[in-house]
Assembly symmetry: C2
Homo-oligomer: 349 residues x 2
Amino acid sequence: MRKKSDGDRSTSLHDVTIVDVADEAGVSYATVSRVINNKDHVSPEKRERVLRAMAQLGYVANLQARSLAGGSSHVVGLLVNYLSSSYTIEIMRGIDEVLQTHHYDLVLYTTHTRKTKESAYVARLTRHLADGLLLILPQETTSYLDALRQRRFPHVLVDYLSDGAYAPSVATTNFQGAYDAMNYLLELDHRRIGFITGGRETGCAQQRLEGYQAALKDHGLPYDPQLVYYGKFLQPQGYQGAQTLLNLADPPTAIFASNDSMAFGVMEAARERGLHLPEDLSILGFDDIPQAAQVHPPLTTVHQPLNKMGQRAAELLLDYMADPLAPIERIELPTDLIIRQSCQRRSER
Amino acid sequence: MRKKSDGDRSTSLHDVTIVDVADEAGVSYATVSRVINNKDHVSPEKRERVLRAMAQLGYVANLQARSLAGGSSHVVGLLVNYLSSSYTIEIMRGIDEVLQTHHYDLVLYTTHTRKTKESAYVARLTRHLADGLLLILPQETTSYLDALRQRRFPHVLVDYLSDGAYAPSVATTNFQGAYDAMNYLLELDHRRIGFITGGRETGCAQQRLEGYQAALKDHGLPYDPQLVYYGKFLQPQGYQGAQTLLNLADPPTAIFASNDSMAFGVMEAARERGLHLPEDLSILGFDDIPQAAQVHPPLTTVHQPLNKMGQRAAELLLDYMADPLAPIERIELPTDLIIRQSCQRRSER
DNA sequence: AAAATATATGCAAACGTTTGCATCGACTGG
DNA sequence: CCAGTCGATGCAAACGTTTGCATATATTTT
């Protein structure tokens, strides 16, 4: 029982609806809806009239009503665990680019790594708000992934390739990237190489660790657990890890961090100890976020095409939204070792 | 005419609605709605029963229906011109924090500085989708700001304090910040100080320029337009600006960039020219984004409480959403000169 | 104790769409 | 020339809420 004076319809205060357009064009509102949704069974002449009326009245679709009535909301949800990392932002940019060209809106949820929140948001989004869902580096997938799949709710994971969860995803060649990086360090004669991992629960961190181990093995070097520090992809843990590793009786001559942020933390610690970079310590990162090229010395790192990952994820999602029954696809993009100046041949001393 | 087999109601496929909750609790759905919205006129006993039923059935409100029926959508729109800059992200984090605690969702629009898009999005959002609107560093405000105010649609601008547009906003003491920074450089005996501005159309860029000019004047120094390069807040323009300024017949001994990103560009250019920092060139930024402390040498810069700005903006918006008739408020937060290592006393030579 | 008032509750309409079904007219084939 | 088809169009129901109004019940006042 909304009150609305009769005059409203003629004033600018009243939002113009499908009915107004219909009146203006002299057709029924069902026809207008058909025009809007590009359906068949509308004569070219009326279609033209409707289009003109829409433009004239400045019609803007009401998404709420549309999706309530069973249409699509033209909204996709994006679940992100931590907003600040450049890693996330770069991926978001890629996503945003393609979503924008397809005229989709983006609802953003940050979970701050609270697992409970993640589930709650997924429920919220998939119930009503969004047509599809993108998850960047999700923490706990098991709890809702099954539900998503069962309900055939379109979704794509970015950067998660655990073995258990079989879901559409976009990731990179984490194993190979780490392997290549290690090869490079080993060729620079480093023999004790520290490794700082990311969150244990993420697939990509696990794979990078495996790449590290495999490279050692292929070079006939032993795997020393002491040289591995368990971080969570954040800079302070890189700092802490470096301190721990460099305090070892037989400290590493190179440290490979599982992402760039932690590599920055390593740099910080090294500098604080009065070490010269890269002479006294070689440092290698993973991700190639924009800052990697800007720090000093510029960071040698494994490039992930973050922007591209976002794009592909969004495109894949759009595919699923068009056809929820499409087969599950897992895209893996290649990484690339970017050699800058943070690594050096181990000095003979 | 949705088809839905009768069995659905009992299966998990059917979304649980207010009606289901009402049935379960043995009350009418209107009562359930009242409980959900914390309205009066519900007996404690029934309220309790409804709450229990909601929990048991796992009820999730349908935002679409809610806002269609005249309630609030619990969504706020965020308009951002460029996603990648840390400046933006830090503000977003602040916004996200408070919105999250108030259980609001965030719809993100990036305009990529396309003015036409900005207007279109505002129309889209304010018509239906969102209850309120936040704009970070909006480019063209004149076109829709009047409309927002007239319709009493809650909105808050972040970092825009032009004289013309009188709108609720959160910003910092741009003039004073620039003035303080200049004072510092002048006290370090620099006499030719280059300035790289941000986008001419933004209020903050304008005010920083004025601070620059005022400081010169107060120290009895002439204003040399040659020393001012017009950028747009992006790193490449800092690089370009530095090249231009350092190519001058009488180049500056210090460069003050209107934001940190451009200061990084200056560093890049300086290093490329083989200059030693800070011995050969003092560099000063504005914003104090996280990277400022990480580059080498660590950047002396004017700290803006970006996170806080976001928080205050969101809080202010919530106020307006609670009371759209509240008087227009313009918050100005203090800046703070953070002295790191990118500036040095001008060497006598 | 009756009247007046306040409180609790339910009913039904409305929000702006989408879409199944019915209708109507025009065209096709025999 | 008539039955049969098919495309164009409109009507009305449904989506899941909120909320004004009416009604029933409890509480206060006189």
